[in-house]
Amino acid sequence: MMEYIYYPGCSLKATSKAYFESINTISAPLGVNFKELEDWNCCGASLYMGINEMNSFALCARNLALAEKEGKDMAIPCSGCYTMFRKTNQYLKDYPEIKEKIYKVLEEVGLSYNGNVKVRHLAEIIINDVGLEKISSLVKRRLEGLNVACYYGCLMVRPKGGVEDTENPKSLDRLVTALGANPVFFPAKVRCCGGTLVGLGEDIGLRMVRNLLICAKDNKADLMVVTCPLCHMNIDVYQPRVKKKFNLGFTMPILYFTQLMGIALGLDKNSLGFKSLIVPAEPVVSKYL
């Protein structure tokens, strides 16, 4: 059993319950133990960074300090949190003056951090550590004939520094192939979903979601898989609004990659979070369930 320190992040406890549930369901069959970091706090996300940088680094540093005590790699399912922690590690390394200040802040609450936590995206852990060969051998229902648009979004691949190719990542495509499905040509795979602009109802945010949906549909995708709660929120929850605003003549189910894995591994569909999707996935995936 491989063990990781698991940092779910705030969204997985609320709007992205489907991600949380499906991760819980697939981890044991994959031979992975995601041990939740005790008493973790919010990473601050992009919004806090726009208001106060030092506080934002402090919030991340507390989690890193707690994770360091556990001595294991940190597994992070949310691309936003993933980037905040990577960035904090990088800035603590590059700027001694920030490091000194953050160490003082941690001292104040009896913590210390030596910069040794390896911050990793949960998708990358599943693809590289569990490995596609093993995943492929565990597949009970091959997803033959299913066309999937693999959407990586921004923060799993940028800023540079992760293990993934930044401009044309292929790891999710390979994962989807291992499940028996067909990853479609999807040139928008690393374009932005609109981030916080979508929830704010800004016209530009909704346009960004529309562009992703059209790109996937034009390339014959039956569904899209994502690796980030905010991407999911934007493309799934706001899809009815986008559909109405731009007169789209179709809907497209948006699944977390972990949900798709759950289907292929033949796991209980009631524990994969399908009920909390706004755009129902059943019409497309029911034949594999």
Binding site: C10, S11, K13, A14, T15, S16, K17, D39, W40, N41, G44, A45, S46, L47, Y48, M49, G50, I51, N52, E53, M54, N55, A58, L59, R62, T83, Y91, D94, Y95, I98, K101, V105, L106, E108, V109, C154, L155, R158, P159, K160, R191, C192, G194, G195, T196, L197, L200, G201, E202, D203, I204, G205, M208, V237, Y238, R241, K275, S276, L277, I278
Partner: protein, 191 residues
């Protein structure tokens, strides 16, 4: 610095670009060659009053007020495409973050922006619970402009009925530790 001679000849004050280049992450701004790669790949630039390339040119020209009061810096979604593609290694996304903070502190930011209001509510929430409580954030933000928010009620209901908005906040065990840290972080300073 590209174009330095021209700036010197014309007597442009270099205070603003110096301010930006001394911020962690802002150092390389002096290397900008105005190639426009950032504006070309920015997913939001077509809606901005000034594109990222234009903003850097304005920073170099010392147009502090105009830069800080621009809408553009609030449309940055921090997707990091510009930062990755910039041939001169300028961390444009981090500079956008810094511009938001300078604009807020100097009071020059454009009024009535939704993202600025949401950010402030978000910060208060984290300082209060240590975690984000999405239901309360949505509610507080909606209450900033109740009439306009009426159209969002169906969306809120759809989230709630799909189990996506638990009403009780998730708090960390010792919220006081977060408060102590935030207090200390503000004391040691930084942008």
């Amino acid at each position: 610095m590209a174009g330095l001679d021209v700036l010197m000849e014309r007597g442009v004050a270099l205070d603003f670009i110096k301010e930006i280049s001394t911020i962690p992450g802002g150092e390389e701004i002096v290397q900008c060659i105005q190639c426009g790669t950032c504006s070309g790949c920015c997913p939001a630039s077509f809606m901005m009053d000034y594109t990222p390339r234009h903003l850097v040119a304005m920073i170099r020209a010392g147009l502090r007020e105009e830069v800080l009061s621009s809408q553009a810096i609030w449309l940055c979604t921090s997707c990091y495409t510009c930062t990755y593609r910039c041939p001169m290694g300028i961390k444009i996304t981090d500079i956008m973050y810094a511009l938001k903070r300078i604009a807020l502190r100097s009071g020059k930011y454009p009024r009535g922006l939704k993202v600025e209001k949401l950010s402030k509510e978000f910060v208060n929430m984290i300082n209060r619970y240590g975690r984000n409580h999405e239901a309360e954030l949505v509610f507080r933000f909606a209450m900033k402009n109740p009439f306009k928010s009426i159209k969002d009620i169906p969306l809120g209901w759809s989230l709630f009925s799909h189990g996506k908005l638990p009403l009780m906040p998730e708090k960390i065990k010792d919220v006081n530790k977060i408060k102590t840290m935030i207090q200390k972080a503000e004391e040691v300073g930084g942008l």
